[in-house]
């Protein structure tokens, strides 16, 4: 579905990613784990076109999408739930969702998309008129995911969905991920919360200092002594 080959990227003279290659198959959920500053968010931003990649190739369903600007990536079928949610705080929940369906092919089906998203997240329907900035942390995350889903993506990128949330709410957010997977979406998820994320993904990559250090199925990684020691504190 989504494939990256030897992708490099950075900011100015600083290189943040070195030869990153990864694959996400149709319907699969893949995690990217790693410490702070490893380049996880940069990787997400490269995939969604928010920053250009310097070298390498990227394909979506076999079509090359490397180097497309962000708005074209959304049209190609990649939706990004950014780190820290980045809702439009002064707009209502419904307006946020409407803007989520900004691209023409989504706008044409706005009503059905909205129904679908509300059926996934009934809570948002109750809050549809409320300003997004006044939602609780968990609801904001829900709204951010819903906003991304409005564009009818093929691949959903989630950047640290559990960041800054209370432990109980973190659990709810991972339940949402389960729900989305059940809908057949392909998901690529970045997390620092290694233990939790390995419960919802099929496979994961370990990113350290801008390069992939390790890859494997969730079960393998959960048993990997290095991961257990460094990232789970076991």
């Amino acid at each position: 579905m989504l494939s990256l080959a030897a992708v490099s990227a950075g900011y100015g003279s600083f290189q943040a990613l070195f030869d990153v290659s990864l694959e996400v198959a149709q319907g699969e959920a893949v995690g990217i784990i790693g410490p702070n500053g490893a380049g996880k968010t940069t990787l997400m931003r490269v995939i969604s076109g928010l920053i250009p990649m310097r070298e390498g190739a990227m394909t979506l369903e076999g079509r090359s999408v490397g180097g497309l600007p962000a708005h074209r990536m959304v049209e190609a079928g990649i939706a990004h739930v950014p780190e820290n949610r980045r809702l439009f705080p002064r707009l209502s929940v419904e307006e946020n969702l409407r803007i989520g369906a900004f691209i023409p092919q989504a706008r044409a089906h706005f009503a059905e998309r909205l129904d679908w998203v509300f059926s996934l997240f009934p809570r948002l329907e109750e809050r549809r008129g409320q300003l997004a900035g006044t939602l609780s942390g968990g609801e904001q995350q829900m709204c951010a995911i819903a906003r991304a889903l409005m564009s009818k993506p093929k691949v959903l990128l989630m950047d640290e969905p559990s960041a800054g949330l209370a432990p109980l709410v973190v659990q709810q957010v991972f339940d949402l991920v389960h729900k989305i997977r059940a809908e057949g979406l392909t998901v690529l998820i970045v997390e620092q919360n290694v233990q939790q994320v390995l419960e919802v993904v099929d496979r994961a990559y370990l990113l350290e200092v801008g390069a992939i250090k390790l890859a494997g199925s969730s079960a393998e990684l959960k048993d990997n002594s290095f991961i257990r020691q460094s990232y789970m504190g076991l």
Partner: protein, 328 residues
């Protein structure tokens, strides 16, 4: 709905009757108010989305000087000169806007860039003394009544032009307000990256509204220049003019259709009233009072006058939150 229609009809009727019953002096004032209202409305197209430009004096100056110089030196009719000035302003907006938006120069930094633009155009006009007359100003070659030269000694002609211009400005404002472009721009003004991540072409949307705003401002400058016939760099371009535009538009209210127009009506009548009242006594008093009133206005009515008056109508309550959010 029908009450809105009625209000529009009544307003238009008043505008049509006014030139027949007002003395020339008030007609002159009214023409100025309408032209400035158009320019303030043009500024608010950007301003309401938080793209604060202190560079609109530059666009106005180009719009005013290009047709005036072409006519006076080379006999080129303003019918060609005005579109040329408008296009040049649009180009300048692209030259300034593109790198800014591309490099994510936003907020205060964007304001500073445009502030510099104002001053560059002002100084260029002053420096090109041989052609523009420098700070002494420039008087257009007058030929009396002429459609070809767009010169009319009778004020009523310009009154009609100013009314049409103003209505055109309102129509553009409304069109943008009702289009999907508004949603995109609102999203951009809240969070550019998030807007890009949902599929909005941030660069294109910003360029579009900037070019429209600059071009309309130039058009306003051109009509102003045709009307007063005498151009001075200080009165049609530069920071002073840019600030006048920003203050009046914000005081009137940039979130409502009539906000900038009310801003023009109040600020220009106030300046004029104070000037007449004080006359030659207490030099500076008029400006001081004007400044104090403006500051009070902006502090106590951050939504602008029209925005504050409309407050009970649901949708603007959230704009209060909007302001608190922006301040916090």
């Amino acid at each position: 709905m029908s009450t809105t229609r009625l209000a529009w009809a009544a307003g238009l009727a008043i505008l049509i009757v006014l030139p027949f019953i007002t003395p020339t002096y008030f007609l002159h004032l009214l023409i100025q108010i309408l032209i400035w209202a158009f320019i303030y409305t043009a500024w608010s197209l950007m301003g309401r989305f938080g793209f604060v430009s202190f560079g609109h004096g530059a666009f106005m100056g180009i719009g005013a000087y290009v047709p005036a110089l072409l006519w006076s030196y080379w006999n080129v009719t303003p019918w060609l000169g005005i579109p040329l000035g408008v296009v040049l302003s649009g180009l300048l907006a692209i030259i300034i806007g593109y790198p800014c938006f591309r490099r994510r120069v936003i907020g205060h930094y964007f304001a500073l860039v445009t502030l510099a633009l104002s001053q560059v155009v002002l100084l260029s006009l002053i420096a090109a003394r041989e052609i523009t007359g420098g700070s002494l100003g420039f008087t257009q070659r007058a030929v009396g009544y002429s459609w070809y030269a767009l010169q009319f000694p009778e004020k009523s002609y310009f009154y009609a032009i100013a009314v049409l211009l103003w209505l055109f400005g309102l129509a553009v404002w409304r069109r943008i307000d009702r289009g999907i472009g508004r949603e995109a721009l609102e999203a951009i003004s809240e969070d550019e990256e998030a807007a890009a991540s949902v599929g909005i072409d941030v660069l294109r949307e910003k360029m579009r509204v900037t070019v429209i705003s600059a071009a309309l401002t130039a058009l306003g400058g051109a009509v102003y220049g045709q009307y007063v016939m005498y151009l001075n760099p200080e009165t049609v371009s530069g920071i002073a003019v840019s600030l006048q535009i920003v203050f009046a538009a914000i005081a009137g209210g940039v979130y409502s259709l009539f906000g900038p127009s009310v801003g023009a009506l109040l600020t220009l009548s106030l300046t004029e009233g104070l000037r007449v009242w004080f006359g030659a006594n207490f030099v500076g008093a008029a400006n001081t009072i004007y400044g104090i009133l403006l500051v009070l206005c902006i502090i106590f009515m951050p939504q602008g006058i029209v925005g504050t008056l409309q407050r009970p109508k649901g949708s603007s309550a959230r704009r209060d939150i909007a302001w608190n959010w922006r301040k916090g």
